[in-house]
Amino acid sequence: MARMKFLCDAERCVECNGCVVACKNEHEVPWGVNRRRVVVLDDGVPGEKSISVACMHCTDAPCAAVCPVDCFYTTDDGIVLHDKDLCIGCGYCFYACPFGAPQYPQKEAFGVRGKMDKCTFCAGGPGANNSDGEYGKYGRNRIAEGKLPLCAEFCATKALLGGDGDMVADIYRQRVLKRGGRPQTWGWETAYKKAG
């Protein structure tokens, strides 16, 4: 069974934020929540790199491991989803996630969090597929319609790939071979290069 994964090719990403707009529009994501966001390294400096980040649908998801009410589940193809009806908004999943994917809409005063919201790989959530209830809580269920996440399909430069992990890795491998090696966006040479 193939696992669904995202991969953002930092060499191709032009920081257009098309993926961010596509996601927010398609799922009517509440104010203050960005399921997907573009992170820029060395912004303004020649050679800057940008990368689109959202939930990585981890195989051993730390958010699922720490949830006190066990509201997370993983589909057979590796998509990590959660049930908002069970969620108590404790924020533990946010602390555990290395990517900051779980986010909370600010619905009340005094820092009271609402229900956790995160990228669903356009797979909706529990409940009947493509129902109004599912759309209201989790957004569109494109996976049930046989489509892939809109952010990846929308990407102008095909930097963001989302789908079968084997196919995504194969495409990235071909690109790296064509380019003649990996970019040193992060790694030893970046960490130990001279400042300035």
Partner: protein
Amino acid sequence: MKRRGALTIAVLASAVALTGCYESTDVTVHKQGEYKGMKDPLLDAKATAEREETLQKRFQLVQVDR
């Protein structure tokens, strides 16, 4: 008479107050790590196999360089 009335009221009041002391003996055991939410049709195994092929075709159609 007055004393008897007050005593009756006191007994009734304490009886009502004591109903709050009831403790249910049913214990709910939550097994850690088990998902406890609503069922998702995406978890249906047969549908997953069909979906995998559809999504692979979609990937080839949309996300591969032309």
